[in-house]
Amino acid sequence: MPRFLLWQASRQKQFLVGGIVFGVIWMLCQAVWPYLLGRAIDDGVATASADIWIWCGALLAVAVVQAIAGMLRHRMAVKNFVRSALRAGRLIGHHSAETGSAITATTASGEIVATVLTDALSLGSMFDVTARLVGGIVAYLVVSGIMLATSVELGLVVLIGVPVLGALLTLLIRPLHARQAAWREETGLLTTLGADTVAGLRVLRGIGGEEEFIARYAHRSQAVRRAGTHVAQLQSWLDGLQVFLPGVFLAFIVWFGARLVLEGAISVGELVAFYGYATFLVIPLRTAVEATQIFARGLVATRRIVDVLRIRPAAQDVPEPRPAPEAGAELVDVASGVVIEPHRFTGLVDADPDAAAAVATRLGRFADAEHEEAPVLWGGVPHTTVPVAELRRRIVVSDAHPHLFQGPLVEGLDVKKARDPEFTSTETAQLRAVSRAVEQAAAAETVEALPAGLREEIAERGRSFSGGQRQRLSLARALLTDAEVLVLIEPTSALDAHTEARIAASLRDARAGRTTVVVSASPLILDRMDVIRVLRGGELVGSGTHAELMRAEDELGHLYRSIVARSTNPAEPVEGQDLEAAATGAIDTLWLEAEQTGAIRIVRSRPDDRAGADASARPGSDADGPEGGADAPADR
């Protein structure tokens, strides 16, 4: 942690130094102000001499310097604050991007967001206050020096008195800090509850229970209020003491100074200056108290930041990685017994879809620890021994709930460019490649509906899209990786059968000659696979093509049909029949067919209506209307 802070400091040396220098000048101006004021009163006001102009002039000059130094000090303070806060925020963001799923395994994601927002700011405040504190300490020493020169006793009183006062006030800080921490924790819980309620609002409004949640929120909110009051009780004592203790100190200095005037040791003006010094010293004193508070909070924040930064990726290079196998190597998942042959389309099917997804996920090596039990051999070598970066480039797993990210759509989809900034292609080539992938993923209509098409700026998390649209765009993105091995987990789970059929057809072209693994129970998809690995509880039972398995009279065939039939129906056509649309009875597809044969004449309610799934951007269309609470389309 100290290392982290020092590193932060070293990145903004000039602003820290500037903050200190201007802070010192600014403070000194304020310190010298009482002196000049005292002289003006002694030599100008009291004696009614023309010297008043000299002293007034000097005061003005100091005022100008003080104003400028104050401004520069503020600029430095803000830069110290902003730089360190943003650097910390950026670091956490970068680290999360690099660490992958390990980051959410140990911390709730809301916690990290809070870390960025508040902890980074607390960290920034530390750097801001450091500069001010140093300025204050210097000014305090100078004032003590001036007073020592006038009166040794008085000087000593100031020199010792101020730190004693500071220490007394700081005694209150620790309990105050504990109460503030309690308040922050309550606030964090409240924010989480509020965010959660909003995210599930569709459920709450559709099912009920909002009263319950409002009550829960109000209950928590009152707990936060009580915690806040608890803080206020102590905070207000601190504020009161910050008035009273320096006041006593001031009264003592006035009394002592006045005695010196009576003895003729100092002038009236000097007494005024003493009073001025004593009031001035409240400023560095307050800064010191403030600094203690900020440091207490800042250090906790820093610890949390460092904790997040310490989380390591779950998949990391071994000390001496082996070279990855040549292109076209076979993949073997030892635990399940599944073999993925190169250059072919492999379907993975299990009665428990999660078990099939687990096998597929293992191929991508997301947690090395898991592979100690269940190794995956890539060209005969455990894939945990090859460099992660190369594995990620060559084996791409697109999971069942892929995320889209903020930014121009074309950039978000063309991952080759996003992964590798060095990668160059002309803009037209890029647009062509992306358009083709979008077409293959049956997402062309979705893109066309966007005002700026592929150049559309996507909101964070891609929240303006429906679940089905997100799934198709993610598929386009996965296709654009051009990976040697592409693993797709339930790529069409949110799509209607018509769209599913289109994707099943284009997938073969898109991935021709390369290795593709698809976890799905859709007959439309499975019919396009070269081989289907049938699993039971995550263990390989047998293999075959869709047609073979649909006809097989053995146990394997029965198992396969029982899985696939669930997405078909009891009124299933006889085996061996064309399985395209008929198998699922997808009305959209049937309707299209019937229309083509002239059996049905479709009357369109709106001229711009398209058949198929992609009218979904508009409310009231049927294909894949709004889905998912937090995921619901937002920016219509």
């Binding site: 009291a46 007034c56 690099e98 989480t192 995210a199 009161g240 320096p246 009394w255 991952v415 309610s605």
Partner: protein, 579 residues
Amino acid sequence: MLLPIADAKTVRATARSLIREHRGRLAGVLVLHSIASAAGLAGPWLIGRTIDAMTAGTATLLGITIVALVLVAAYAVQGLVSRFAQLRAMVLGETVFAALREQFMHTVGRLPLSVVERAGTGDLLARTTNDISSLAQTVRFGVPRILVAAATALLTLVAAFLTNPLVALGLLVGVPSIALVTRWYLRRSGRGYQRQLAAHALLSGVVSETVEGARTIEALSLAPAQQAKIDAAVLERRDTERYTLGLRTVWLPTIELSFLVPIVAGVGWGAYLVWTGAASVGEVTAVALYGTQLIGPVNELLGWMDELQIGGTALARIIGVADVPPDREPVPDATPADERLEARGVRFRYGDGPEVLHGIDLSLAPGERLAIVGPSGSGKSTLGRLMAGINAPTDGWMTVGGVPITDLPLDVLHRHVALVTQEHHVFVGTIADNLRLAKPGADASELESALEVVDALGWVRHMPDGLETRVGSGGVVLTPAQAQQVALARLVLLDPHTLVLDEATSLLDPGAARDLESSLERVLAGRTVVAIAHRLHTAHDADRVAVVQAGRIVELGSHDELVAAGGQYAALWSSWHHE
């Protein structure tokens, strides 16, 4: 679709009504602070008196000691009174803020169903988190501090004038420049801080999507791209800070000079007045010290102006949510006579859009299963939403037991009809909490039997704390299938007599949690079911089939009847069976 933001007038009115509501306590705080500030003004006055006594040669050691003791007493009073004033002010701030956020959540929880369905949650989420915390600063600390500073500044000025009005005039030299530069500053800073807040929200959005999407980023090696985006957001945040800092670079030194110059002016002018005999040295000294004491509070006052603007912006977004017009006016004593769902001449359009439904007539017998069949864009999902009471028809009647369905208060509506979607948000809390929202006050055995119905009791019992296991963000993560079973168990507890299933978005999707079909089937048992069918077998299994085309029902009847009638449905059926 964006949620409204309150205009400046509404924000001011809200602020005024808050002040009115708490005026008694506010006045109490102000009185206490005035007493404390008045006590704090004793210092310069006593110093002035002492100096006058010294120049007159009448000062004694006893006199000085008395002055010092009075000074200590004054500070004791100031410290003690300001402690209680501060406490009351902060407690008031906490109370007002708690009331504001609870009111906000209350409004959010009552947002019209159709708005929630369409607006999404991003904007609302930002208001719940960012705006509430921006406002916290203003209400919890800003308002109390503003009160203190205002009271202190005013009293200090009054004290200066009481000491010697002629000398004190010199202190006013800075007022015009403060007023002018502050006006200049505030005109620009509001926009500047809004941009800064927006940049901050963007940064937090990008970082949070990075955290949430960490898995995708890892799988697709997207880290460099995501990092570049974070960097851009950081830069934007910094640039917006740069702008406001530029404003302050002008504003702050001008203000500081406007404080200091009047003190100098007061001293020079005071020297002249002493020379003419219109003031004493002590009076000039006291006024000059009062001038110095003004700096702190006025500075603080001005500093909070920015915060007030930020708070005002946040407040506008928070109270703006209340401006969403209700989408229905429930008739409190509307009691459906029976469970019969009926559509008569139902027409519908979204906003100003084209009409989607052109006169639907339909009557559902209790316990019946109706499949709605039609091509994409025929309006069948819209019809489903109308039947579930999410939107009210633009024309015609959608009734349950003779009562227009959107006349029912939502809690009553829920007990009649529910829309089943793929929605499976798991709320932070226990599994029991997640279930109880459908039936507040349900006991454990009720919850267990609901879980039993959807075949979920087994895994729930195996959870570390059973029903009391904490789930959602930070707790046990449920699989999508488990989450959907929880959603189904909610339906069992809610027990509506009619369910509207939008197949495309419902559990019947291929690939999505196939295990759930038997769970769903048991939830459907004994209820009226409207299935927006996307697969023909759904229609085959239904009691009746309605074929919707271009916003009209063109065929209605049982599967066999329609096949026999030889219409569109029959053509569809035969194209499937290749008969």
